[in-house]
């Protein structure tokens, strides 16, 4: 391509790009004028006047919208972080079983992975919510030595109460993501050569010890990127909380839009919230990755 053509092409792309942005801004202004609301964030400090079933910090309906949103962000963080941990543990175990020598375990985990990956997440969440928890009758309590109560209200575990909504979301997200994580782990394990397995086996190391001390450390560089992208998916999928009535940031945003009509501001808030969440995840994983690479710099 000649330089002239290149400049012409770039110029064209620029015009299209700024044209589109112009159209968007124009639409936005027209809509804002039509609703007569204007673009500002001062409403954030008015009382929210709706109740929240779940709030890790004190909250009443006379608290501000901003505080309600922050509670929602915390709720999101809570379910994302706990699902992330549970999904990783489950996924690792299933990934191990999938690659291990036991053929029955291998078959079961392959079935698990296929089933979970081929059903929509929304369906799985509904299943856990309606079948798993609300399916338990009102008067039905499963009690284990008074420290563990299960009912359709959720689970009480030595004073800590987890709602059915939270648990359904936690289970749904963890199980769904664990199937993908299992495949990431399996891929990582397979990336380590057969010779490493033979070497630790011939030294008398057990399969478990060999996997943990020899195979996994070498598989991590292949696992971390896949794991990061699964974590980001999990964070985004957590917005399906609204389907089971869990008050995450998305559900609270939705309520606020209905009450105030401040759709644009709310979407900006949502955008920033998720940007922050995902930056948190990506950066944490990046730090872990760097630590691993540093400890392996001699390889």
């Amino acid at each position: 391509m000649k330089i002239n053509q290149k400049i012409f092409l770039q110029f064209g792309i620029c015009i299209i790009f700024f044209g589109l942005i112009g159209i968007l801004i124009n639409n936005l202004t027209i809509n804002l004028i039509r609703t007569g609301l204007g673009f500002n964030f001062s409403w954030l400090f008015k009382p929210a006047s709706f109740a929240l079933a779940e709030h890790p910090l004190p909250y009443t309906s006379s608290d501000s919208y901003a505080w309600a949103l922050f509670i929602g962000w915390l709720n999101s963080l809570k379910v994302i972080v706990s699902s992330l941990i549970l999904a990783t543990l489950l996924g690792t175990l299933i990934g191990f079983a999938r690659t291990g020598k036991n053929s029955l375990l291998g078959l079961i985990s392959a079935g698990y992975i296929t089933t979970i990956r081929q059903t929509p997440l929304l369906l799985q969440l509904m299943f856990w919510y309606f079948v798993g928890f609300l399916g338990l009758k009102d008067n039905m309590f499963i009690q284990i030595k008074n420290i563990f109560n299960i009912s359709n209200q959720g689970i009480e575990f030595s004073g800590l109460i987890f709602s059915s909504e939270f648990l359904a979301l936690l289970l749904g997200l963890s199980i769904f993501t664990s199937a993908y994580i299992a495949e990431v782990i399996r891929g990582g394990i397979l990336s380590v050569g057969r010779g490493q397995w033979e070497a630790f086996r011939s030294l008398g190391l057990s399969e478990r010890k060999g996997l943990i001390r020899i195979i996994l450390p070498q598989a991590l560089p292949a696992i971390i990127p896949g794991l990061t992208s699964q974590y980001l998916n999990l964070a985004k999928n957590s917005t399906l909380a609204i389907a089971v009535g869990y008050s995450d940031i998305y559900a609270i945003n939705d309520t606020i839009i209905n009450q105030t009509g401040r759709a644009i501001e709310c979407f900006i808030i949502l955008l920033v919230s998720f940007l922050l969440l995902n930056l948190l995840i990506t950066n944490t994983m990046e730090i872990i990755n760097r630590l691993i690479l540093k400890s392996r710099k001699n390889i």
């Binding site: 010779g195 490493q196 033979e198 070497a199 630790f200 086996r201 011939s202 030294l203 008398g204 190391l205 057990s206 010890k209 001390r213 020899i214 450390p217 070498q218 400890s295 392996r296 001699n298 390889i299």
Partner: protein, 248 residues
């Protein structure tokens, strides 16, 4: 005295109808060196890998250091054998994420539950025996092939094995590096170590081995002392193989 290795009619097929091992019988006595030779695909690796349970077999019996295993591949017995048998591979298979000394102390500490300090002391002794103690803190990728293979030998020795298995230990080395590994193996044989060595190094086989076992298509063609095997092999197939080896 009881032999270290006794194999009786070992038979194995990876794919139906194709025998990787076909009625292999052999015996290795204490302190003896058996060299295994044969063309590519003749079953040499498969054979010595059955000795420490890296490979299963379909028929026959194996007695390693008095521990009897059969086609059922009893994991507990295999584990017992592996604690008393060392193995050295063609591709070294050192653990790249561990330092040289960590490579060597891994099994003593985690399999034999010895104290770290004790394992390190013995590890350093083994490294000095192999002439590479100055590399203890380095990582495998920082060493030459010959050095890595000597680390692999030291690693196999760390459990104080009563039998050492070598699968083509010099085949992945540059020609000028081969002798440093063969010399280390020679010294082990002189110290009375029982060894089974798959190799095509005729010089080593002539000097060090007590018997040469020649395989083809999974069968043992002949087992002879080296002076007979290399000058006057009993079988036409062995002589043909040796002729081809000479041309290389």
């Amino acid at each position: 005295m009881e032999p270290i290795v006794v194999a009786k009619n070992l038979t194995k097929s990876y794919t139906k109808g194709l025998r990787a091992l076909d009625n292999v019988s052999l015996k290795v006595n204490q302190g003896k060196v058996l060299v295994v030779m044969g063309p590519s695909g003749s079953g040499k690796s498969t054979l010595i890998r059955t000795f420490n349970g890296l490979e299963t077999f379909d028929k026959g019996e194996l007695n390693i250091l008095g521990i009897k295993v059969d086609s059922t591949h009893d994991e507990r017995k295999i584990q017992k054998i592996r604690r008393r048998v060392g193995m050295v591979f063609q591709q070294f298979n050192l653990f790249p994420h561990l330092s040289i000394l960590e490579n060597i102390t891994l099994a003593p500490v985690h399999v034999q539950k010895r104290r770290q300090i004790e394992a390190e002391e013995y590890g350093m002794y083994l490294l000095s025996q192999m002439g590479i103690d100055s590399h203890a803190k380095k990582y495998p990728s920082q060493l030459s092939g010959g050095e890595q293979q000597r680390v692999a030998i030291a690693r196999a020795l760390a459990l104080k094995p009563e039998l050492l298995l070598f699968d083509e230990p010099t085949s992945a080395l540059d020609p000028e590096r081969i002798n440093e590994v063969l010399d280390a193996m020679r010294r082990l044989a002189e110290q009375g170590m029982t060894m089974v060595v798959v190799t095509h190094e005729i010089g080593f086989a002539k000097d060090v081995s007590d018997q040469v076992l020649f395989m083809d298509s999974g069968k043992v063609i002949e087992t002879s002392p080296p002076n007979i095997f290399f000058s006057n092999a009993k079988h036409e197939r062995s002589r043909k193989f040796l002729n081809q080896l000479d041309k290389h």
